[in-house]
């Protein structure tokens, strides 16, 4: 038990920050991101032995954090987060400070449908492959490709970025 806890703690210390950042891009609020990360890590703890034995730890952890964010977004205070960002004026990123960049990008992400947002974040921030993203989201590779493509196009439009063939 102690060994299991030590191994898990070692994993959690390293993974928590990255998971929290992914959750933040998904939901736009650090407190919710931290809650989602903790919820996800508790799920990982419960399945620790199987995950250590059978593999798929990173995939499961990311699936858990994405699920936690999506679960949160179904709760009543979802609108508080997105509503709070409505007043931010979108601007071209090259003229922005770090804080501006964060607010603008997060606001733009928040305007994407959840599926597109998850695909963009997992592909372009978490650096998962199409297959891995499909596994995390429980969908097909074709769906990931199309949602990523649409999400990227929408994001570029919102951020006034030039189109690229980056999907």
């Amino acid at each position: 038990m102690r060994r299991r806890d030590d191994e898990f703690a070692e994993f959690a210390v390293v993974a928590a920050r990255r998971m929290c950042r992914t959750a933040y891009l998904m939901c736009g609020d650090w407190h919710r991101a931290e809650d989602a990360t903790q919820d996800a890590l508790v799920k990982v703890y419960r399945r620790w032995r199987h995950l250590r034995k059978d593999g798929g730890l990173a995939s499961y952890a990311n699936r858990a954090v994405v699920s936690a964010v999506l679960d949160q977004s179904r709760r009543k205070w979802r609108s508080e987060i997105l509503g709070g960002l409505e007043s931010v004026v979108l601007a071209a990123p090259d003229a922005m400070t770090v804080v501006d960049t964060r607010a603008v990008v997060v606001q733009a992400l928040s305007r994407l449908p959840p599926g597109q947002r998850a695909c963009v974040v997992l592909r372009y921030y978490a650096d998962f492959s199409i297959e891995q993203t499909a596994e995390i989201l429980g969908t097909g590779a074709g769906s990931v490709k199309s949602q990523t493509s649409r999400g990227l196009a929408e994001l570029r439009s919102l951020l006034a970025l030039p189109e690229r063939n980056s999907a």
């Binding site: 038990m1 891009l25 650090w30 931290e34 508790v42 990123p93 960049t101 372009y124 980056s166």
Partner: protein, 279 residues
């Protein structure tokens, strides 16, 4: 890294804020979640076993091992055959842990046991409330920080057995608690009705001064550690917090003259039958 990746990376940059994620808090929540799921497994196992044996009412904690005693326990015999029942392995040692130390380690487990009863709507006769300093510590056995203890409510209606494998165990020293009625009759008999605590193998009727427990596969019976009053007893502390298979043991009680006055079978969980060499 393309422009989108750079923007996402910048947006997720949290170098200017401290992270409020506590791994210790996650570990605590995780342990609780694992523990709850184990309780649920034990509960369903208990209900199934009760249904098969038909000796107890629906009771969540029915099959969780030895309990029972009152006030101060005594080692009833020394392994000789001068008393009724013949030779036996000596009783387990009395725990050196203080009453208050054991109580503190059993309170969260007691809350879980009561919550479980409430959730499943069983043991509705249990009105004794949480274990606290007013409860009598009837018997305690163990070595180091591992123990089995039996608390008896002030009105003596409920006996709460608390087991812990100590800090090395899965629950890190937090006790697992079973609560049972000392008066609820689960099987009528002659000369004794079988109460819930007797059916669970933690208590013997009045007049019993020696308790022997026959564990399958062992040549000699085990002498139980018996309380001075109330007839509560234990054969030792758990060597593991992990739930293992059930073992049907035979419990024999003898009076001061060596005459047999009690003979019943009860289910013990294997992890609560300490290996003889480690007692």
């Amino acid at each position: 890294m393309n422009d989108i990746e750079r923007l996402l990376d910048a947006a997720a940059n949290d170098d200017d804020r401290s992270q409020n994620i506590s791994v210790e808090a996650i570990l605590q929540r995780g342990r609780r979640a694992v523990r709850r799921s184990r309780f649920a497994v034990v509960a369903s196992t208990a209900l199934a076993a009760i249904a098969v044996t038909a000796v107890a009412p629906p009771a969540i904690s029915a099959l969780r091992g030895p309990q029972g005693a009152s006030d101060t326990q005594v080692a009833a015999a020394d392994g000789t055959d001068t008393a009724g029942g013949g030779k036996a392995v000596p009783p387990p040692p009395v725990s050196l842990l203080k009453h208050i130390a054991i109580l503190m380690r059993c309170q969260s487990g007691d809350k879980e046991a009561r919550d479980l009863n409430k959730r499943y709507g069983v043991n509705t006769f249990d009105k004794a409330g949480p274990i606290d300093a007013k409860w009598t510590l009837a018997v305690k056995s163990g070595v180091g920080d591992a123990f089995t203890a039996i608390f008896v409510s002030p009105d003596r209606s409920i006996a709460a057995t608390c087991h812990s494998a100590g800090a090395k165990g899965q629950f890190r020293g937090s006790g697992v608690v079973d609560r049972a009625s000392t008066t609820y009759v689960v099987k009528k008999g002659n000369p004794h009705n079988l109460t819930m605590t007797q059916a669970r193998g933690i208590q013997v009727p009045k007049g019993v001064t020696r308790v022997l427990v026959d564990v399958p596969g062992e040549k000699l019976a085990r002498e139980a550690l018996l309380s001075q009053s109330g007839g509560f007893f234990t054969i030792g502390w758990p060597h593991d917090d992990e739930s293992k298979s059930l073992v049907m043991v035979r419990i024999r009680g003898y009076d001061a003259k060596g005459a047999p006055v009690f003979d019943e079978k009860a289910p013990y969980q294997a992890q609560r039958i300490p290996p003889l060499g480690k007692r």
